[in-house]
Symmetry: C2
Subunit: 375 residues, 2 copies
Amino acid sequence: MPDMPITGRSLRSTITSDGALELRMVEEEIADPTGSQVLVSVEASPINPSDLGVLLGPADPATLAPVEGGGLDGQVPERAVPIMRDRLDKALPVGNEGAGTVVAAGPDAEHLVGRAVTLIGGAMWSDYRLVDAAAVIPLPDDASPADGAALFINPMTALSMVETMRAEGHTALVHTAAASNLGQMLVKICKADGVGLVNIVRSAEQSATLTELGAEHVVDSSQPDFNDRLAEAVAATGATLAFDAVGGGTLASDILAAMERSTDPQEHWTPYGSPTHKQVYVYGSLDMGPTSIQRTFGMRWSVGGYLLTDAIGRLGGETIGRMRERVVAELKTTFASSYARTIGLGDALDPANLAEFSKRSTGTKYLIDPSLDRA
Amino acid sequence: MPDMPITGRSLRSTITSDGALELRMVEEEIADPTGSQVLVSVEASPINPSDLGVLLGPADPATLAPVEGGGLDGQVPERAVPIMRDRLDKALPVGNEGAGTVVAAGPDAEHLVGRAVTLIGGAMWSDYRLVDAAAVIPLPDDASPADGAALFINPMTALSMVETMRAEGHTALVHTAAASNLGQMLVKICKADGVGLVNIVRSAEQSATLTELGAEHVVDSSQPDFNDRLAEAVAATGATLAFDAVGGGTLASDILAAMERSTDPQEHWTPYGSPTHKQVYVYGSLDMGPTSIQRTFGMRWSVGGYLLTDAIGRLGGETIGRMRERVVAELKTTFASSYARTIGLGDALDPANLAEFSKRSTGTKYLIDPSLDRA
């Protein structure tokens, strides 16, 4: 067994009952692994939107300022404090998923020492994570921790969208914020599986990125003819299901209206619209404003939250097993992530970095590598 | 067989490709009933919101003006014309449900002549309706056509809400515009069945009406403490399902937020909110503006359209049969409707009446009795 580290850093986020947001780096003692435990030196953890939800809550990152002794303090809007009820005054660890190297192990897991592994362990924005060997997946020999840092949330979410489409009787998909890492995975999955996909992006640059990847239907919401182009693409694919990462504004409503426009004319008109059920699942909040639903698309529609955890529960073990196998097999192709920057763990508390990676926009994805600035 | 009428009036609504709304009274020939057909003299047809959807479409009734030769012309907003695609230039009959007296019948239905019957026949805003005997339900001897005019849409919708609650695993309900005829039925159903019901009304007067009926939880959205009172009532009942007749504005969102507030505290906080799924079904559009969903209640939520026809399909024949029996048995109690005014068929094209009954508010419900002004 190599020399055991004595302590390691771990990032904590607390929202106080007074509405303060406190971000702190704490130093924790590292226990010896026992039994089948492994100690993972974290070397790559992506900054996902779900991590920002824990890190910042409803606080505006512009309110964050350094405090004496280290860390940052910010402010949560007063009206949002009650919504945070269940996390008030708790110092929460951050970082859902990541990868690293096993640096120590209990007697039943010694074969893993030295191996690069990936895990959805929580508290990944830490120098070290002590977990059971059953919780880690060894990476193939040619994969680095950075290659394997984001093998759970985005890949499984993207695959779950296609599986949900099948399970709920739809035949094609609409996806928003489609130039994201997740969106690019979805383009590759749908291309491989022959599933119709309408990609909604917000700039000509993002549109070009997806077209290069082989996306057939890319619609730019920044263009004045967006709604007409969207209706054409929806009609061409027959999509009646959408996954929306934006949340706020009229986008979900625009998609439902496009779906309704693309239905076949009804001989016997009713005030209830087409018989086609149209579904939008909101799985993100790049725009945290209200979802504005215009209801000009009849009565057969639904807009609701979408959570990977719940989708996994609905889809069942066999489907999930198939999804996991595919993720590992296509780790460097379909499910490759790209990052705008890699930073150290301490750098996550640099206000300039924080302002950048907390922008809820695609194309600024960061990777944290605690080994970069480890003592 | 009594003397057969030769012709009868029937109201028609047309939206033209140019965006004009044309309301006309046409005179139609009445065919002899054959086989098992019955000819019903319409004597009572309610003006339901769903009828206004056919009559006016998206037109503002204030644009309606009398035209030479009879009838009214109005204007549909230009942006709404494409949504009306499937009804353009069709002269649609109006009036979903109603009751009357059988005045003639084919040889296989002669036993019904003279009987008061109710039907969901469409085109009920007419002097006469020729339908198959299987489509009508004879009313009990002590029930007038007015008593039996509205035995389908409101009673079946109200019952379907409680059945949907059971089918989808909820245990209590929230209802908006709760002082409506439908809302009053729901109060009586829930009281009889021991189902928790939160009634949202928009005035102190409506609140008093429901309290008199025996409603336990009545919350007035015009009061400044509405959201706190709503959260209390939701917590007291455990409601996680709502039926919303209002549609526009923040009401659906307020209800979801109240449901989330009333969930038990979670020991392990996640950014996804409580594990409780919260559902709002929008079944009406008293406010035709956009539904504004603030998304401050985690990820387990859904807002969607609700249509009686589809609910009936989901609930299945046995449940529907039970619902129908109850409606007829409780016609004068649970399912009694009250009307602000009864008008003749021609009166429906009087601009002053139209302005009044097309107000999408509770308490101004009209009944049409074509026999009042029949030639």
